[in-house]
């Protein structure tokens, strides 16, 4: 059973309003054994795109085929600049750290100048007000300072990456 077949099963379930399906097969060549269990939904909703309650990305309506079909576009976008879509998803995974987000659009610099040490590394302890990085916007260097004290647990962008508004730059586990 490959992904395409699975997808066809899901489509079929949706089209027929089937709530549950179980399928087992033992792989034997002749007279293969197996088991099938199917259960239908109680009230059948014909033709509805998708149901709510499903864990979806915040802001992206689950019912939207347009949004789903734009996955390719999102990927292309991610290749160009980091996709905003990643942020909340990633944020859920590692909820422990406090996000340091970009307050402006610009270019991320990990160090004050090319030939100097980076401001911080993963594992560093930082104090409130300590400079974490610089974002250059329109030739101006904007220092981004820590708003909490703690340990840098993750840095999500690389030196000279373009960053967009609200993008998570790093995470700090509060002390």
């Amino acid at each position: 059973m490959d992904v395409k077949e699975l997808k066809r099963l899901m489509d079929a379930m949706k089209a027929t309003g089937t709530a549950e399906l179980e399928l087992e097969w033992d792989g034997s060549e002749e007279r293969p054994g197996g088991r099938v269990a199917l259960r239908r939904e109680s009230p059948v909703m014909p033709g509805g795109p998708a149901s709510p309650g499903a864990p979806t990305q915040p802001g992206i309506p689950a019912s939207s085929g347009v949004a789903a079909a734009a996955a390719g576009a999102l990927e292309a976008m991610a290749a160009g600049t980091p996709a905003a879509g990643e942020v909340p998803a990633a944020a859920e995974e590692k909820a422990k750290g406090t996000d340091v987000v970009a307050p402006i659009v610009g270019t991320f610099y990990a160090a004050p100048s090319p030939d100097t040490q980076v401001f911080v590394r993963v594992g560093d302890q930082v104090k409130v007000g300590q400079v974490l990085c610089v974002i250059e916007a329109m030739k101006l260097m904007n220092e981004i300072e820590a708003e909490v004290a703690g340990t840098v647990v993750e840095i999500l962008v690389r030196n000279e990456d373009p960053v967009e508004y609200g993008q998570v730059l790093m995470r700090i586990a509060p002390a």
């Binding site: 019912s63 600049t81 905003a84 610009g106 967009e164 508004y165």
Partner: protein
């Protein structure tokens, strides 16, 4: 032609610009606010970049983030759409400073013609008629003196206003007294500029505008006229091209518009708005230095892509056609489908569009950024679609629009479609008796 541009706008106009870019083989980066992350232009874009929070002041009006976004994504030019920063000379200038092409007029074009009072002087210089009106008024006494001279009613306008904002009709000296200082204060608050002037008020004028295009080297051509008289609170709700005025008059108005645009060495797409009174006299009222919401009606009757032409002119390719190549065929009507409830004083109806089915078939064009499942953010204007109908005659364009709107489905939010159907069905509208007070006077809403 550019390799990559940044679109500094949202909604249907961001999509319109994106489409033009695609068709020209230009990559487009869509700049968006946090509220527009799942909007169609963002989903369809080659690249997109978040430039601020939902509030426009932090995003679509955030010059620094927009310029930065263009620079970090390697865009060569910025298309401002309409609204937001489209008519901001300073933004246009800052683009140039950062070696980004502003897809629009030169900063000095915007600056000179954007101010109402200066626009009037320029019109006088160019020999274009304007409504009898005053210079900026020093005080109430000056206002009284001018009103007495031209006769009531007069209209009080803010120098920095536009698009119907900052205007009030004044019927008598008492009325003037009551309104003058208040209007000044409002203008100061809204535009940061308290200057006011007076104009003679025209009864039942038509709003007729001319689409012009300049190459910035002195050549200006026009794409004929549009009638945008159907307005609600000075906001256009339905536009058509061409106007139904006498052809000789239409030619005169077009010629005046071209004269004015030539006078300032205009570059790119622009619109000269005129009021036309019942005697066929026309008066320049203002110039919009951007692509207009209603540009598709002109595209439908001329079959010419104005947004693509903006790209070409901005890229230094000059105008792609001459005046004699601009041909007009048939009639086109646009309705602005807003997410507003016409049964409840047009109050905005934000929320999720749960289902949508736009019309199709011959002669119909739909420009919309809405899809099934799209949540209309409450932060911006309520325009969700423009439906445009073309027909060989005005009657057929009306018939097409009616059948198209009747097959349109928008679920989840209220729209102005029922109201548009009532306009289309109105006997005055059908025979073209449309003036800027049409809705107030001819319809019982």
């Amino acid at each position: 032609m550019f390799k990559k541009i940044l679109i500094a706008n949202r909604g249907e106009i961001a999509l319109r610009v994106l489409r033009a870019a695609r068709e020209l083989g230009v990559k487009a980066v869509v700049a968006y606010s946090e509220a527009d992350e799942t909007s169609l232009p963002v989903l369809l874009a080659d690249e997109s970049i978040c430039i601020g929070p939902a509030a426009s002041s932090g995003s679509y009006l955030n010059v620094r983030n927009l310029l930065s976004a263009a620079l970090v994504t390697g865009a060569e030019a910025i298309h401002p759409g309409y609204g937001f920063l489209a008519e901001n000379a300073e933004f246009a200038e800052m683009c140039e400073e950062h070696h980004l092409t502003f897809i629009g007029p030169r900063p000095e074009n915007i600056e000179r013609i954007g101010d109402k009072a200066r626009a009037r002087s320029l019109a006088i210089e160019a020999g274009v008629p304007i409504t009898p009106g005053s210079d900026p008024l020093a005080d109430l006494a000056a206002a009284h003196a001018f009103a007495a001279e031209v006769g009531y009613p007069v209209i009080l306008k803010a120098s920095a206003g536009g698009g119907g904002r900052g205007m009030r009709v004044v019927q008598s000296p008492n009325d003037l007294e009551r309104n003058f200082v208040q209007a000044q204060e409002e203008a100061r608050a809204a535009f940061g500029d308290p200057r006011m002037y007076l104009e003679r008020f025209l009864e039942e004028p038509r709003h007729v505008e001319i689409q012009v295009f300049g190459d910035g080297e002195g050549e200006v051509i026009h794409f004929y006229d549009r009638d945008c008289s159907i307005q609600r609170r000075y906001q256009k709700v339905l536009e058509e091209a061409p106007s139904i005025l006498d052809p000789a008059l239409r030619a005169d108005i077009a010629e005046a518009a071209v004269r004015l645009a030539r006078h300032i060495g205009y570059r790119g797409a622009g619109t000269c708005e005129f009021l036309v009174d019942r005697e066929g006299r026309f008066y320049f009222s203002e110039m919009n230095t951007r692509i207009q919401v209603e540009h598709p009606v002109t595209e439908m009757v001329t079959r010419f892509d104005l947004v693509q032409e903006q790209f070409r002119v901005a890229a230094g390719e000059g105008l792609s056609l001459r005046q004699e190549d601009v041909r007009l065929e048939g009639h086109a009507i646009e309705v602005r489908v807003n997410a507003e409830d016409p049964d409840h004083d047009f109050r905005p109806s934000a929320g999720v569009v749960t289902d949508v089915h736009w019309p199709g078939g011959p002669g119909i064009r739909v420009d919309s950024h809405v899809y099934a499942g799209y949540r209309i953010p409450p932060n911006y204007d309520s325009l969700i679609a423009k439906v445009i109908a073309w027909g060989p005659t005005r009657a057929m364009a009306i018939a097409r629009m009616e059948r198209a709107l009747r097959e349109t489905v928008v679920e989840g939010v209220a729209t102005t479609i029922p109201f548009h159907l009532r306009v289309l069905d109105n006997a005055f509208y059908r025979r073209g008796a449309v003036y800027t007070n049409f809705i107030a006077r001819r319809m019982s809403i």
